[in-house]
Symmetry: C2
Subunit: 276 residues, 2 copies
């Protein structure tokens, strides 16, 4: 049976590229926002949903972190990493001469700042609501314009790629996670994501939780704090550790942590992405 | 002598409100971006600069965090907290009837989502580049429009406040820091901000650093990770702890940490904000 996979559309975005990288045969269901990706899976209109969690240059996608903490019972069942290489796009027949406007998503404009400054010193960078919208803005522009977006946007809109890898820093990659009703069975090379918080702020609370992992030789991959939305200075913590929650040492660490925190939510155990 | 204080303009933004809260008599120097705030202080065109670091609903201002890690030798000399209460604004004589468009900064639109949905079920939320720009967009709108921005924007542009406190969650506040060439002398109720990272990723590195604080009874207020921009999974850590770097226990903790990390940068010691 074909897997139905919800993603943050429209077609032509990096999220669509990630969805196709995860499963080229999936039936893709385009959502208009990150919460809508989750709603589609909750409602059973897709079995799985794919969302970005972290970019190598920008850091955590905080919107996704907050959804995981506050708004979903879905579990993380997989992760994958999409290299992000921006392309310079133009309409068919157009050249990069006399360009007056460069359209892209604000984050992509930031990632290509030096390139744009040197290549188009006289052009105005203009923000679009997505990389895909940037191509539409370019096609509708009254002034000579180019757009910066992914390869997938070029094929989807049938525009030409003038240059590739135009980002200033080529080690640009985004990690995505796949959400579903259940997480994954152990594979022997897994990781586990959790979130937790504390009632009171006292010296050593966080250290004492993290020590439950380090004392068992469990590697902490990532820790991140998010506001509780109650007051400044109170946080939820999100952590990724090596191992599956069914592994003996991870399970005993989680049991010990459960005694120390006011809330502990296991977001899922799933196969770890291994870089090529 | 009047203090010259750089802030992220234009006038009418919450950053200007914070600058006036910090020093109502300062000569304000409007900057066009966060890096420009820092450049103005580096160049001596202002003695101090004020930048947002954290919002109680949205979390860290990651752009500021990255500037502190990568791009400045300025020190943090003060912090302050600005309560954020959005207002519904309209041009003089206009009412909130038949409104077709609601302009605001994307973050403010997010913070007033429920309010907008209930108050203006038929209006379209439109993104502006700042709260201040939203007022200009409203004034230039061909369709009946309102804007959401702060009190200061209303007085600056001389438009009317139709409603106050229109944000969905009233515990909305932003913490700002003041940057200068030197940080502050000890006051007895201080905090210290640091950033650090590790060459290699091994179990317990982070715990072992944080334990230097907890073993000395030093409270950790905040920890946050930011990408190194080299590859996914490598981070800089930013931490705030109670106490001044000239205090004996903080100094000895920092010395011990210096032996464990590949980079340690003390961003400054400064008087701690005390909630009313």
């Amino acid at each position: 049976m074909t897997r139905r996979l919800a993603y943050l559309g429209p077609p032509g975005t990096y999220s669509e590229e990630a969805a196709l990288l995860y499963d080229a045969d999936a039936e893709l269901v385009s959502a208009t926002s990150l919460p809508a990706v989750i709603d589609i899976v909750h409602d059973g209109d897709a079995e799985e949903g794919i969302v970005p969690v972290e970019n190598s240059l920008e850091g955590a996608v905080t919107f996704t972190a907050d959804l995981l903490i506050h708004e979903t019972t879905l579990k993380i069942k997989s992760e994958l990493v999409l290299p992000i290489h921006h392309c310079l796009l133009a309409t068919a027949g157009a050249t990069a001469d006399d360009v007056e406007v460069v359209y892209s998503h604000p984050q992509s404009l930031g990632q290509c700042r030096e390139y744009i400054r040197q290549r188009f010193p006289n052009a105005t960078p203009m923000q679009s609501l997505s990389n895909s919208a940037a191509v539409i803005d370019m096609m509708q522009s009254a002034k000579p314009a180019v757009a910066i977006a992914g390869r997938r946007a070029a094929s989807f809109f049938d525009v030409q790629i003038l240059e590739e890898w135009v980002e200033d820093n080529h080690s640009n990659a985004t990690r995505f996670i796949v959400l579903s009703v259940e997480d994954s069975a152990p594979t022997g090379r897994d990781k586990t994501s959790i979130c937790f918080n504390f009632d009171a702020d006292k010296p050593g609370s966080l250290v004492s939780v993290l020590a439950e992992f380090s004392e068992r030789g469990i590697n902490l991959n990532k820790i991140e704090s998010r506001p509780t939305r109650v007051s400044l200075g109170r946080y939820f913590f999100l952590a990724d550790v090596d191992g599956h929650q069914q592994d003996g040492d991870v399970r005993s660490a989680l049991e010990a942590i459960g005694e120390k925190v006011s809330m502990l939510k296991v977001l899922g155990s799933y196969p770890r992405h291994v870089p090529d």
